[in-house]
Point group: C2
Chain length 558, copies 2
Amino acid sequence: MGYKSDIEIAREAKKKPIQEIGDKLGIPHEHLLPYGHDKAKVSQDYINSVQGNKDGKLILVTAINPTPAGEGKTTTTVGLGDGLNRIGKKAMVCIREASLGPNFGMKGGAAGGGYAQVVPMEDMNLHFTGDFHAITSAHSLLAAMIDNHIYWGNELEIDIRRVVWRRVVDMNDRALRQITASLGGVSNGFPRETGYDITVASEVMAILCLATDLKDLQRRLGDMIVAYRRDKSPVFARDIKADGAMTVLLKDAMQPNLVQTLENNPAFVHGGPFANIAHGCNSVMATSTALKLSDYVVTEAGFGADLGAEKFMNIKCRKAGLAPSVIVVVATVRAMKMNGGVAKADLGPENVEAVRKGCPNLGRHIENMKGFGVPVVVAINHFVHDTDAEVEAVKAYVRELGSEAIVSRHWELGSEGAVDLATRVAEVADGDSANFSPIYPDDMPLFEKIETIAKRIYRADEVLADQKIRTQLKEWEAGGYGNLPICMAKTQYSFTTDPTRRGAPTGFGVPVREVRLSAGAGFVVVICGEVMTMPGLPSVPSAENIRLNDAGEIEGLS
Amino acid sequence: MGYKSDIEIAREAKKKPIQEIGDKLGIPHEHLLPYGHDKAKVSQDYINSVQGNKDGKLILVTAINPTPAGEGKTTTTVGLGDGLNRIGKKAMVCIREASLGPNFGMKGGAAGGGYAQVVPMEDMNLHFTGDFHAITSAHSLLAAMIDNHIYWGNELEIDIRRVVWRRVVDMNDRALRQITASLGGVSNGFPRETGYDITVASEVMAILCLATDLKDLQRRLGDMIVAYRRDKSPVFARDIKADGAMTVLLKDAMQPNLVQTLENNPAFVHGGPFANIAHGCNSVMATSTALKLSDYVVTEAGFGADLGAEKFMNIKCRKAGLAPSVIVVVATVRAMKMNGGVAKADLGPENVEAVRKGCPNLGRHIENMKGFGVPVVVAINHFVHDTDAEVEAVKAYVRELGSEAIVSRHWELGSEGAVDLATRVAEVADGDSANFSPIYPDDMPLFEKIETIAKRIYRADEVLADQKIRTQLKEWEAGGYGNLPICMAKTQYSFTTDPTRRGAPTGFGVPVREVRLSAGAGFVVVICGEVMTMPGLPSVPSAENIRLNDAGEIEGLS
């Protein structure tokens, strides 16, 4: 039996005009700023007008540590949203926007899959409503203004060896990782080393996703540290006088983008910060607005629960005053098998023993999520070849932990396949049993915050860091940054910093390689292991096969 | 008496929903792809459906050599369009999109001025409908794919010293003019020198503006030369397999953008190639479509008539099969005075003698335009302090040449001030006296084409070029590029290559410094003097004063 590809299903979608989708949320047409017939931004005036509304329930979808088998976190987020609507709830979905660059390398879209997708899928994987281009522009303007300031006399006394503001482009371009700029003589400035990151790694992206309004956006942009003087005192974007113009460039990008699921339910797709050096979830603007417009908001966080959900709660929820009512941890039978030691090529045959062996990875995530005071439901994202015995093994394991695992077939069946999951999730949310709290207080010293995450979430024995790093953290505390939360950057494939250690490992330390201050976004980035902020293209990039066919349809995008 | 600023007037505009503007052209709402409530792209399906319509009359607005006094070419284009509509004609305007980067340096918008503007002015000076971002993305993808090809083994045997495809960004960033990329070791590639131009200088921009449809776009993108081998044989974008994905990235950018004038008349604002290394006029797609949708299409070309109009005719009209019915040469009393030797600071008092002395600049442009077989009307773009005697001096001069100069007060009065101009222009267009022809044939040798332009348009005695340049032209002729038109890049301030020589100079040569082949755009660029393809920011960039005010309005953009 043949299954249709995601893009085939997406193309067959019976999309409704975006105004009709807005109608479901009660948004008057004049407050929807359309981009084509199937995308729209919600006006700031309308967002202001609904601030008195009661908040809906926030549902976070997270997952076990990702494996090459795929977990389907976005797919489950979309399926659950459609499922809630199917059982008569007023629900919407909030997910991230996709980065343009990686589409030309290997990966396809980030809009769900099967019969649980958000559309228009192709637009979402291309320019969409231009938000990321606006971020690239704002970031580039600041970069140009810094070098321009140096060129015209350097009144701020920037040490050109200590300009920390790099440049960005939304493209996988390894040739730009490290460059020497301002070459060519007097009229081009003072030569210095710098480099490019991909746009989603820009601090501007993190700020856009955490800012609560345009004023907060401008304040945060101004707070960014762009360089240091010889005496190591920081130079801020505000000193460069770039914050006002950057805000103007980001004005429209701040407004959430409304699109629809295949079942014509509303979805916000807005913002897309890196899940390593940033917090990896969609914008506060979108989530907060969705909570004012619907009774249930289903959102997701990047990577596994140890990274994505931890940051969702300790950074986004803490700073935005959000609190999830229930957490859905997505697992698959295949991923359990891989965590149980099976190679990807051998996932085919039934292997209940391997499923059981892999379950402790799931178990630890469940415990961790409960540690935030939030009830957990496990969603088994069903693959068509999963056997009943394998599924039952996961269910039994979760039952022993005092939670419940529910099979969901949204990929194959859309909302019809997600009714059980939606019903249970709504029940738990309505039970109001959550008592959310971040796992460390604002006023804990920075290094202790890192230790708290490493020990309570990863179950490490210790955090290893050079004196230089500890001193740096102390200096930031002295500089008034001690109250910031921590943004961990480590591999998503393991609780440890070693991507090959699947399951639920113990007896390890977490080595900290580097710490960075994102003073505008408002967190301290703690880097444990390699972090790649500018990907490269593979030897045969997917771009070679992306083209318009004779019918004018896009081929090869996903 | 105080006059309102352009931005104040634009903010007070009583804009109509873009669908109503489309109604005036008969475009069904489903074929208008809206971007907000006041901008829309016209669908390709609709454009295909009107190909059987009769073409309207094409009216080109050009100008004398620009002076710091300002001529108001775009303002006159918009005013004339509104004037034609006021006298009952079905007319529309086609102008270029503005580049983002320069707005943060010095210049304000490119949307006209006074009561002859296109709106939404602020959007047009920011991201607009994202066309330029799409061009930047497509250009960047090709750049990344070239270095990626080299990184993975360089099967095409590209000489890394001869990669001619630079990178672009839509920002004034002099630090990027010359860089060394791919530094940092094995994983980042092979270090080489390269640099950035501003996006409007990209060959992709020129191609987008000359392509007749998406197939033609892809073919031209594939034809671009991106590098040479050690044996100097060219490597094309097609060899890199980037043309398909670039076309996908440019799919929406190819569709013309519909906006409106302050008087709610339709305008296409689409494309914006550099007027030096490219041809400097709006897209063929927009102009051709406008001709199918209205009876009169008013468009403009960059810089003065010696550069902009010459290229409009010899490149755009030749290649797209367009033919203007009438040419409007814009002059101002102030610019005549400057051409007559008056400094900008001394433009205040009446000076009829200086006006007369400056008129030969206008006279030469009139003769040149007639040389293309097209009748000319001179528009005196009226400034409120121009005296009657000064205006009469210009009129008398033009009358002696057998043409007619008409005062137009659109800046001050909108269409009401442009009725005389519109009436006369429509009469001339309707008279069908034009017999348009480019001034050199396709099969003339490249160097002779350059000489033809220099002698017939600039009135130079000779073209000076090293043997190296002449040999290069011969090589291109041998390579099959001999039939291409010439794209001159010289100062816009003079008929000569010396920007200080105003008026109608004689007795000079035109030195050619460099020639470049734009094989995809389909022209040979001939560079005479300095050409800056990446501007810098001034010591106090206007970005420092651009911000949102408390009402959420943009301050400082213009």
